[in-house]
């Protein structure tokens, strides 16, 4: 239903001046002759500074030619246009804005210029950019184990074709790659669940942390010993003198956390070295600390290290591919167990990641 009562001019003006979108108008010479308050608040400039072509001073130099061409081409054709570009905000920061310009006509029906409205879409652009980067990382992470699976499978197939015996190691390594692939898919599923605001599903039972830790380290040592052409090796030193360390938890999830901490310790220590793992009992807690001699995490980034998709600035995806999910999921799992994940790091010294978990009620004195 529409009203036939015309909106008085002062109400039009108030509407336009205070509308949350930025509004501009250009005359027949394509020079701007009006900006609303929202525009001027955004740019922090005066009407006089923005008039004519003054507004263009705020457009990012890399976007300027493209924007100008779109504007002039459509102005000439008197056709509406849409474009996105970076515009300098009052604080000097360039923000992406979406700008829609439409031609308008005067009371005699003569073309009189263009009027446009703009909204700040920087967050959306940034989210799009991060999504693209993340999809690219996922693609990389999935391609890598498929490559080695292909190779192991083909090696086995050819041996069979030549009538040669196939070493069991080949199949074990193929299986390990399948597991790696499955872990990646699990991580992606977990991340999606957390993005939706849901908690991870845990299956509770009594778990012996010491046994689990020894099992994981043994598996890593075995994996490493099976590698034929790798020079950089890691030594695992495990100190777990507390006997059975029982907690109430999800064994598979705890395996995911400990596996992740151990994997990170080796991944970010590309030159090899000693990975120290200690399991201690302190009051009502068990504490698992994994220390590595690796590339470390810059101190100023430590508070963000367990956020989803976080990548340390000294671990570019070109050198250390990964999704930035492992530590975030580990923290989530630790917290769902009533524990926490602590990260300490010093450049040049390495990193210590500590998992704290409450002991089982039965095990506590």
């Amino acid at each position: 239903m529409t009203s036939d009562i015309p909106l008085p001019a002062d109400q039009y003006r108030a509407l336009v001046e205070h509308h949350p979108t930025m509004i501009w108008r250009a005359g027949l010479d394509a020079k701007c002759n009006y900006f609303n308050e929202t525009w001027l608040d955004f740019t922090g400039r005066t009407m006089a500074q923005e008039m004519g072509n003054g507004w263009a001073e705020g457009v990012h130099p890399d976007d300027f030619d493209r924007c100008l061409k779109i504007f002039l081409d459509n102005f000439g054709r008197r056709q509406a246009f849409e474009m996105e570009y970076r515009l300098r905000r009052h604080d000097g920061v360039y923000r992406y804005i979406f700008d829609r310009g439409v031609p308008f006509w005067d009371d005699q029906g003569e073309f009189a210029g263009f009027i446009g409205s703009c909204v700040d879409v920087h967050e959306r652009r940034e989210a799009d950019r991060m999504k693209t980067a993340f999809l690219s990382l996922i693609s990389h992470e999935l391609r890598t184990p498929i490559t080695s699976m292909n190779a192991f499978l083909e090696a086995a197939r050819r041996k069979v074709a030549r009538g040669e015996p196939v070493d069991e190691t080949l199949f074990n390594r193929l299986k390990a790659q399948c597991d790696k692939f499955a872990e990646l898919v699990q991580e992606l599923g977990d991340a999606a669940r957390l993005e939706e605001g849901a908690a991870l599903t845990l299956h509770w039972s009594e778990v012996d942390l010491a046994e689990l830790l020894q099992e994981l380290v043994a598996r890593l040592r075995e994996d490493q010993s099976g590698r034929v052409r790798t020079r950089a090796t890691h030594t695992f030193e495990v100190q777990a003198d507390c006997g059975p360390c029982l907690i109430r938890g999800d064994r598979q999830r705890l395996e995911q956390v400990l596996g992740n901490l151990l994997h990170n310790a080796t991944k970010y220590s590309p030159s090899g070295g000693t990975i120290r793992v200690t399991l201690t009992r302190e009051g009502p807690l068990y504490r698992v600390a994994v220390s590595d001699p690796g590339i470390s995490i810059p101190a100023e980034e430590l508070p963000r290290v367990t956020r989803r998709y976080f990548r340390a600035s000294n671990a570019s995806p070109d050198h250390y591919p990964g999704l930035g999910l492992g530590l975030a999921l580990s923290r989530e799992i630790a917290e769902q167990h009533g524990g926490q994940l602590l990260v300490a790091s010093q450049l040049g010294e390495g990193t210590i990641v500590t998992l704290e978990l409450p002991r089982s009620a039965e095990a506590q004195p």
Binding site: A9, D29, D65, R229
Partner: protein, 183 residues
Amino acid sequence: MKRVLLVDDDPDILDGVAEILEVDYEVSAAENGVEALKLLQDGHFDAVVLDLMMPVLDGAGVMAALQERGLQVPILLVSAGRELAQQCERFGVAECLAKPFDIGELEARLARVIEKGASGAPPGGGSNGSGIRTDARDMPVGSEGRAPHSWPRLGFSPGAAPFPPWAAAPRAGAAPLSAGSGA
């Protein structure tokens, strides 16, 4: 037997691929660019299967170092990343292959790289960008997959007159917005 250097930070890819190539080649392996450069400096190789994304020194760093040192060795560039075609073009690498690759395809391309190297054709690590053969699939050329800017420069600078070239004498002038302006 021809000598091939495999460079990849993934120990499983190194072992899996080497297991196959060792039937026809003498294979050496390096886990990062620094190790690769050392081996290339110390010995002769007929070809290098070089991964791009690696810790310590990546594939691009290896190719840049080879160019700097004037070392020429035929390169087959492989990567699971999206910048493969771009790096191939940048370094004039004649063959590149996206992961995950078909092993038969890897062998065919490796044979071609070695053959070209033996015949004196421009090897990888040179600056010749022509004749590049890629299997980069959906990996676009251009920074981060974006098309390079192709807009012509219009020679406009803010405040310069006349603007635009077709502009008639202004009719609306700098009048403030009013309800009758057609908005």
